[in-house]
Symmetry: C2
Subunit: 426 residues, 2 copies
């Protein structure tokens, strides 16, 4: 079922860390066609695609006030409390990351600082499917709201009755989304990137999706709309020592594997008994999993490695740069400084990935496919940009002037030099 | 020479804020060809392109220790001190932006925090040309060094003698660059994105360049290498009141206009006398500018606007989202909160853009072409990513568990639910 390697040579790591890739190349001409049509025909094009792909006629894409009010009453009460509880934790964690202004005097009379400002208009995409992904709504709308974005729009495909699941509507309304639209797929991304009569164009688009949505976001980026981060299948890497509970590890691996057939789960240990026991628990738990067939396929893309050297587990993990990293070890804090590349890290026996996926407070929109080497997960900062400011006094320019003049002269930019000289002469 | 508008209607703003675009579409097949060749033939391909485009044979791309040592002795002494002085200011400003760890307890027993880590390998591109752009070296290498990047490589095209200007070498060595390579153009970006025998591949590429380099960076992004930000011609927008000095404003406009024929300069005021006086000063100063012909063409793309309403100046500026914004007004701090979109802001009479371009301490790598609505300029954070951590105790999971189980159940992810249930049962 799952491959097990023993102390693989460093040469083989490059191929081991390869992920199943989301192929979007073949979709490019379709994406360009949809974008072209949406640009030209606006809402008419959206209606046409919604009928074609979602098999439903939509007259008004905007979800009405009444629909939102109804959602509040329709939604399961237990789920409503759970969404509120998780939302509060997410708010509590995310709200702490707004920087305070700190003025730095780099030379007497030269004062510089940075101020963050919200991105004015942002768009959130929430995929459709059998179950409503309300957790994605919380993870994207809450930081957008905390950042202070003026316009936070959400697009999600309608069901065959032209409706959106009440849990999505409730989560969106409760998290500060300003407008919800019943539109999905490539056409939703095109609408947010270009704007139509009913859907405002936004500056940055967030959210997961299938390969069509991924291809559309990639295209949106090339025409000047920012996106949250490059996409790839979800993944977890677990490092376990002999203290770890194989049942817990197996459950965490399956929680990841059930996401999709291209998900990947990796287990590293210096203890072969743990690997064997986990494999056993995995097989057992898999039998009772409703999404067994999906998980099974994901496990075929996955592997366990036994490294005799403990440090090598961390070297491999850093090369892999997992989206989720679980340290199922006795003293996890001891190893925090060894972690160079990861999206989100879960320390110890009770920090299961599901907690971060839903409710502990951290964000679940994380870099996959090794992008954790470069990109951060979504945070309030993803919805803001920073502006630098400087206030230079007469004395300050006197202190800096000669340096600027000299540098400008050697870069042969005499206009730059003159902007200083003319002030110093004055 | 320069267009002057009076209270243009809001409908016309959209066309006014259009920037001259860098066209890279036609270069795409060339870029793909070069990337393909570099991927296949490595250094051999680089040598071939260097001979073809830079008209010089390079045996070893790596700049030697001796060349760096010689640079220290060759460089003009005044310039050397200026580079050190500017470098110190840039360090002083940039070093303050490393966040401290702050552990947030979102629920009793649920502790979450964020830690920043350097991007391990980064690449800096410095364009060639008649004058050496050592200021770009400082602006990119210093934050990379402060971030703690392990490998900071720099690529810049050699001159016809196969050499790099000593000011570039000195600035690079002094700022913490680990390796300098004599290679430019598309092939340099390809080398950093793919790696060759002599040039290591990097995770993120920074730096300005002509349309070939821009097209190459855009392509690198599509194959998984991060880049600093989308490129566009440089620009300044100045808001002036009747307190402003027209000679200073004219000098600042020309400092921007001399960058390139596609640069854009904009002046907004509620005072027509200031506009007229600035126009007069501009014509006068232009005559003595060595890069007159470039600046003159840039001014043809540029405009002044008289707005009778003062607040409208800020509304227009926010729509334009300038790379550089100068507030040539009596009480600039009064207006800071009105600024929603800008790359870097210069407050008052003595805060000229040249100061930020070279030596005040802020970064000069800034979002152009309206991208200041979404992107920040380069900072230490551009060379880092953030990892979230969580440590949940038994009690913590008990407090969170029901919420997670409920949400997972409604998202039909029973594996996610089980990862909690199995622990709670234990």
């Amino acid at each position: 079922m799952i491959k097990i390697y023993h102390n693989p040579e460093k040469d083989s790591w490059k191929s081991l860390i390869q992920r199943p890739k989301i192929k979007t190349d073949l979709l490019k001409s379709l994406v360009q066609e949809v974008f072209g049509n949406v640009k030209k025909n606006g809402d008419v094009a959206l209606k046409q695609y919604t009928e074609q792909f979602d098999k439903v006629k939509i007259d008004d894409f905007l979800v009405s006030k009444e629909e939102i009010e109804n959602a509040y009453n329709c939604i399961n009460i237990e789920l409503r409390s759970a969404i509120v509880d998780a939302g509060n934790n997410i708010k509590e964690f995310h709200c702490h990351f707004k920087e305070k202004r700190k003025v730095i005097q780099t030379k007497p009379g030269v004062r510089c600082w940075t101020e963050a400002r919200p991105i004015e208009k942002v768009g959130i995409y929430v995929p459709g499917g059998t179950a409503p992904l309300f957790s994605t709504v919380l993870m994207l709308a809450i930081p957008a709201y905390l950042a202070g974005c003026q316009e936070i729009i959400l697009c999600t495909p309608p069901n065959s009755e032209g409706k959106i699941h009440p849990a999505i509507l409730f989560a969106a309304f409760n998290s500060g989304v300003t407008k919800i639209f019943k539109v999905g797929g490539i056409q939703a991304i095109a609408a947010m990137a270009l704007g139509t009569e009913s859907i405002p164009c936004v500056h940055k688009i967030f959210g997961p999706g299938n390969q069509y949505v991924t291809a559309a976001k990639e295209y949106a980026l090339t025409i000047g709309t920012a996106i949250d981060m490059p996409a790839g299948p979800s993944e977890v890497l677990i490092i376990a020592d002999n203290y770890a509970n194989p049942d817990f590890i197996a459950a965490d691996l399956l929680a990841q594997a059930e996401h999709g057939v291209d998900s990947q789960v990796v287990l590293l240990s210096n203890n072969s008994t743990i690997l064997q026991k986990t494999l056993f628990a995995l097989k057992e738990q898999l039998e009772n999993l409703p999404r067994k067939s999906i998980a099974q396929k994901a496990l075929e893309n996955s592997f366990f490695i036994e490294f005799s050297d403990w440090d090598t587990c961390f070297d491999f993990s850093n090369e892999y740069a997992p989206e989720h990293l679980i340290l199922a070890v006795k003293k996890p804090k001891k190893y925090v400084s060894k972690i160079k590349n990861a999206g989100s890290v879960f320390l110890g026996k009770y920090s299961c990935e599901s907690a971060g996926d839903y409710a502990s407070g951290t964000n679940h929109t994380l870099p996959t496919a090794g992008f954790a080497k470069v990109y951060s997960g979504v945070s309030v900062e993803s919805f803001m940009k920073k502006i630098t400011f400087q206030k230079i006094s007469k004395k300050g320019l006197f202190n800096l002037g000669h340096t600027i003049e000299t540098m400008a002269e050697f870069e042969e930019l005499y206009g730059h030099k003159n902007a200083v000289s003319i002030r110093l002469k004055n």
